[in-house]
Amino acid sequence: MSGPAPSFRIRLSWLHAWPGFIAGLFLICIFISGSLSEFDTEITRWMQPEFRPSAAPPSPAALDRAGVLLAEKTQGGRRGMISLPGPRDPALRVIYADRGERAEVILSPEDGHVVQVRETAGGMLFFAFHHHLNMGRVWGSNLTTALGVALVVILVSGLILQLKALLPELMLFRPGAQTRRAWLDGHLMLAVLALPFYILMAWTGSLIHAERFFPGVGAERPPAQMQEARSAPSRDMSGAGRHGHDGRRARAGEGGGHAPAASLASILADARGLMGETGPGRVQIARDRISVMQADGHLPGPGGLRLDYDRVSGARLKTPPAQDAMAQTRQTLSALHMGHWESLPVRWLYFLLGLAGAGMMAAGMTLFLIRRRQENRAVQSVPLRMGEALLMTSAGGMPLACLAVFWANRLIPAGMEGRAGMEGLVFNSVWTACLVYCLFRAFSGRTRRGWHDLMLLTGLAGLTLPVLDIATGGRLPVHGDFVFAAVDLTGFVCGAAALRLASFLRRKVGAVYPVMQERAA
């Protein structure tokens, strides 16, 4: 005989807790890597200290050289583009796809000679991880899209669960209260105030790949373009897709292998006059035309301007037809998700709120585990230990693995072949080592000790990042170049926060694990 059906609140609580915990393990990593992706260009600059920015705009010779180089690198129909110097990235880059991976060459804006910089995965490592969790561009993207949808469900279910206490307890935070209460306060404080941001991120993030996940969304795109998008997903990473212009790529079969016969300098001068303050940001060259795309920095809306020029004569072609409403909406949502249209302070807010989102999920998942632990006090079950280890790896190991990439960038010899892949390998290896260590700590009943050690290592790695930077080629913030100082300072602050947490946990470890104290004595 079955008992009474569980109430709506109990069902909702289950929906918030269990899928929330499982999805949260991935979402914490997605939020942390997404926060770092907000400054991917700046991180890449930090990781290439050899590059010295020049205030001079690119000369006609440098632009022509970039055009020829792009044609060389995109032989055989491969995709590529020229990224023009701008306020965020002062380098003239030729970006192309090499065996499915993103590759680039930096040119001097004065005369177009190739600037020798170290090969690095740069900020794109974090972007790619945020995008598809290193699980392949089809499965990984589908998984992140599914997680985005799950996040909306989890947020809405949590909102309904806390609806009654939402306003009275909006600003309530009691770190000194009993453990469960304190974690719940922290979870709610980080969740409720930033709820519009999380919903915006989840929704817009899901819609970036909506055509794969919701088949109806791509209905207005031409069938040939849809076919190309499905058959060649790796092209997303060739550069154009990264900048939110995936809806306006050169048509299939046109890209690659064509040097511009017309002068790029005169084309860009014309484009600059029409694009106004933000100016041109990227150039793509197809068989018959040269497309100039507006730089990031325009407000979200119909999207940045794109101008097409004849490849041979350099004459401006008719303005491309306006995109349909679906494509415009998609591009606006993509711009909102990436935040590249925003000013620097707002991008910092994106970064901080992304980290707050990871903290919110970690607090909620800790609360989930505390409840399960209290329910199973006598039986320390394997799933519970596993859950503790995975949470530790996700929330504690991920920041350490990210910092390890910064360290690897400076410690791996600059001239080594395949060092970009090595940086990725370091990221994966450190994270895997964290998983093994967390499993060991969780199954030996010393979870807090595991947290403490991870925080200690993260703290040390972050605090010493400025020292590493200065010792290995970083620059002091002179001549308005604050990128190195900003990355160092961010690492330092994160390291200090992690050390503070480690010191707090150190006190708790003694209280919870008297056995350890006895051993120490």
Binding site: M171, L172, P175, M189, L193, P345, V346
Partner: protein, 93 residues
């Protein structure tokens, strides 16, 4: 540069909101009078509307995003400040 004033207005609004809550008043043994409550309510509403107006006036429709982002940026530090400044013994109540 409207972000800073917007964050400050949100912080003010949320501080007033916190001061109007019973748990806040109980933990500080402070009961605002009728006039004070009216002032707090008016300040809370006015600060939120002023922040929204400022964002919309300076950035148009995109100002909505800035306004939404400024809420946690103003609220979380205030919440942390209030939480960490309250004596532990009073947090139990």
């Amino acid at each position: 540069m409207i972000l800073l004033p917007c964050i400050a207005l949100w912080a003010l609004a949320l501080l007033c909101h916190a001061a109007l809550q019973k748990n806040f008043q109980r933990r500080r043994a402070w009961i605002p009078g009728r006039h004070m409550r009216i002032v707090l309510r008016m300040a809370r509403g006015a600060a939120i509307i002023a922040a929204l107006t400022l964002c919309l006036a300076c950035e148009g429709a995109a100002g909505i995003v800035t306004w939404c982002l400024a809420a946690p940026a103003g609220g979380i530090p205030v919440s942390l400040y209030l939480g960490l400044r309250t004596p532990v013994a009073r947090q139990m109540g």
